[in-house]
């Protein structure tokens, strides 16, 4: 489900810190952080550890050994606040690395864009569930935590087929009424984004 013919579908890669950058900020969705992932971060970010800050959002109380300075944030909203309130602002040479589920990645990326980060300053790494955020084409509501290929819209209640067409700005996939042409004919739901 991470690979698609549709070219708006982002491709995620392992995080690779850029040595020339001035500051490095790694934002991690805590519930997706496994010991193996932490070990991978420790090895990748070792060389830039003196200039690394990690924001851990929720998740385990006891993280163990990690590179850089670790800060704990309660929620995505705290990340958005902290990005916009960072006292000296962010520099054009800084880099942001984000790891987590797809909705998490794009909410952080969107907030970073608002404080001036260019897409070339941001790396995204997918971890954890494949669940999707779905945008209803008909009422424009967002439905979160979608794991099936057909989902009920949280706004208008229509049965939406979840397409692969993806909006980075909304961090969401397009949902289109599945039975518009033949009302009532809704295929069985399959769990595909677990």
């Amino acid at each position: 489900m991470m690979i698609s013919d549709i070219k708006s579908r982002p491709i995620y890669r392992d995080l690779a810190p850029e040595p020339t950058a001035s500051g490095h900020l790694l934002v991690v969705e805590g519930e997706t952080l496994t010991p193996a992932l932490l070990a991978a971060f420790a090895s990748a970010f070792g060389p830039v550890a003196p200039r690394l800050h990690i924001w851990l959002v929720g998740g385990p109380q006891d993280v163990g050994a990690h590179p850089g300075r670790l800060w704990r944030l309660g929620s995505l909203a705290d990340v958005e606040d902290s990005l916009s309130c960072a006292s000296r602002g962010f520099g054009i040479g800084d880099r942001l690395y984000v790891s987590g589920t797809e909705p998490f990645l794009w909410r952080v990326a969107e907030a970073a864009g608002h404080v001036g980060f260019a897409s070339g300053q941001i790396q995204l790494h997918h971890a954890g569930s494949l669940r999707r955020r779905v945008w209803c084409t008909h009422c424009h509501s967002i439905t979160d935590d979608v794991t099936t290929h057909i989902a009920d819209c949280a706004g208008c209640g229509r049965h939406l087929l979840v397409r692969d067409h993806f909006s980075r700005r909304l961090g969401a996939f397009m949902g289109v009424m599945v039975d518009a042409e033949a009302p009532g004919q809704v295929p069985a739901r399959e769990e595909v984004f677990a």
Partner: protein, 358 residues
């Protein structure tokens, strides 16, 4: 050129939209050959072309008043059909200037633009006689118009408009007025890069079509607009076939029968043009939609026969992408009666000067 407008025709509800004989003969029929060929098929948008619709930068036809009214209805129901990101203000003025100058020059009986100067800060007066508008404003000052300049002028133009900002060797769809689209959502796509908004199009990505098209567009020159045709099919003469309103028009696809398909099924052709904008360096992408029913098209013998042959050779991916699956067999049966198998000349012109009266 004086046009006989049909102000009362409708594109929803009772669907009273029809083409006059003259409108049929000037239709931008999109198939020059019997086989369907996907290509970028792009050519200079000069003041010439195989039918009359190609011969002015921005075509105005007998449906002008009715289309502007339908656009207003759609916008009232869903204001998100018009969007412009904040950095696009210069491109908004570019669009207003290009449209006002072109319409006033090509249709002096219907439009006039009186300028006290060319620079920002000059007082301009715009007269749109078909819609009964006279508006004085300060060029460059959005507060002197009833809405932002892009929305103001594109409410008074047929067809959709997207503006692409050019940066980082890419194009970003950062503004749009989209009320007569073939099933794509501006509210979803706004801000997307060229490859992202073309994401759902099948086959062409693999053929490298979009890479070449993007490279070409990045070099598009001021004063040298380009054009291409695109097409799909729509049930009923409906302009607003957006994904937003799909629950309204989706059921129509199942409503076609051999008896009503000639009247209800329409070939929907987009005359897409591409303009480098002078002050912003952005690219304006007007998408002008023309609709003609199978009944109307078949009155041009060459077109009835050719449409039959082209639809018979469509790759299955495109049948699906264009949403033709449910009714294509019925359409082919209907069109077969209009195809006697004779050889047809290459080209899209109708090949006749008048239609046989019905």
């Amino acid at each position: 050129m004086t046009l006989a407008f049909k102000p009362d025709e409708t594109f929803r509800g009772d669907y009273t939209y029809r083409n006059s004989d003259a409108a049929i003969l000037r239709f931008p029929f999109p198939f020059p050959e019997d086989r369907y060929m996907y290509s970028v098929n792009i050519e200079p948008h000069t003041r010439s072309g195989p039918t009359d619709v190609f011969r002015r930068p921005f075509d105005v036809d007998e449906h002008y008043i009715a289309e502007c009214r339908d656009k207003a209805i759609t916008l009232e129901r869903d204001p998100s059909r018009c969007q412009a990101l904040p950095h696009m203000m210069l491109a908004q003025w570019d669009t207003l200037e290009l449209l006002m100058e072109s319409l006033a020059a090509d249709y002096p009986a219907h439009f006039a633009l009186i300028k006290e100067g060319d620079d920002f800060g000059s007082r301009w007066t715009w007269i749109n006689r078909p819609l009964g508008i006279e508006q004085s404003f300060i060029f460059g000052n959005p507060d002197t118009l009833p809405c932002e300049p892009f929305e103001y002028i594109t409410r008074q133009a047929q067809g959709d408009f997207a503006i692409c900002d050019q940066r980082d060797n890419n194009l970003f769809m950062d503004a749009g007025m989209v009320t007569s689209q073939a099933d794509w959502s501006l509210a979803f796509d706004v801000g997307m890069s060229f490859m992202e908004w073309h994401g759902p199009v099948p086959l062409a990505h693999q053929a490298g079509v979009f890479e070449r098209a993007l490279k070409f567009l990045l070099m598009l020159r001021l004063g040298q607009p380009m054009r291409r045709l695109n097409w799909t099919m729509t049930i009923n003469p409906r302009l607003d076939t957006s994904p937003e309103s799909y629950p309204e028009w989706g059921p129509d696809r199942a409503s076609l029968t051999p008896d009503n398909i000639g009247r209800k099924l329409h070939l929907r052709v987009e005359l897409q043009t591409l303009w480098r904008l002078p002050r912003s360096n952005a690219i304006l992408f007007p998408i002008r939609c023309y609709l003609a029913s199978l009944d109307e098209l078949a009155r041009v013998p060459k077109w009835g026969a050719r449409l039959h042959r082209v639809l018979s050779t469509l790759p299955p991916e495109l049948v699906d992408y264009k949403g033709l699956t449910r009714f294509l067999p019925t359409a082919l049966d209907w069109l077969a009666a209009h195809d006697d198998g004779r050889e047809l000349p290459i080209g899209i012109e109708p090949g006749i000067a008048t239609l046989t009266p019905r």
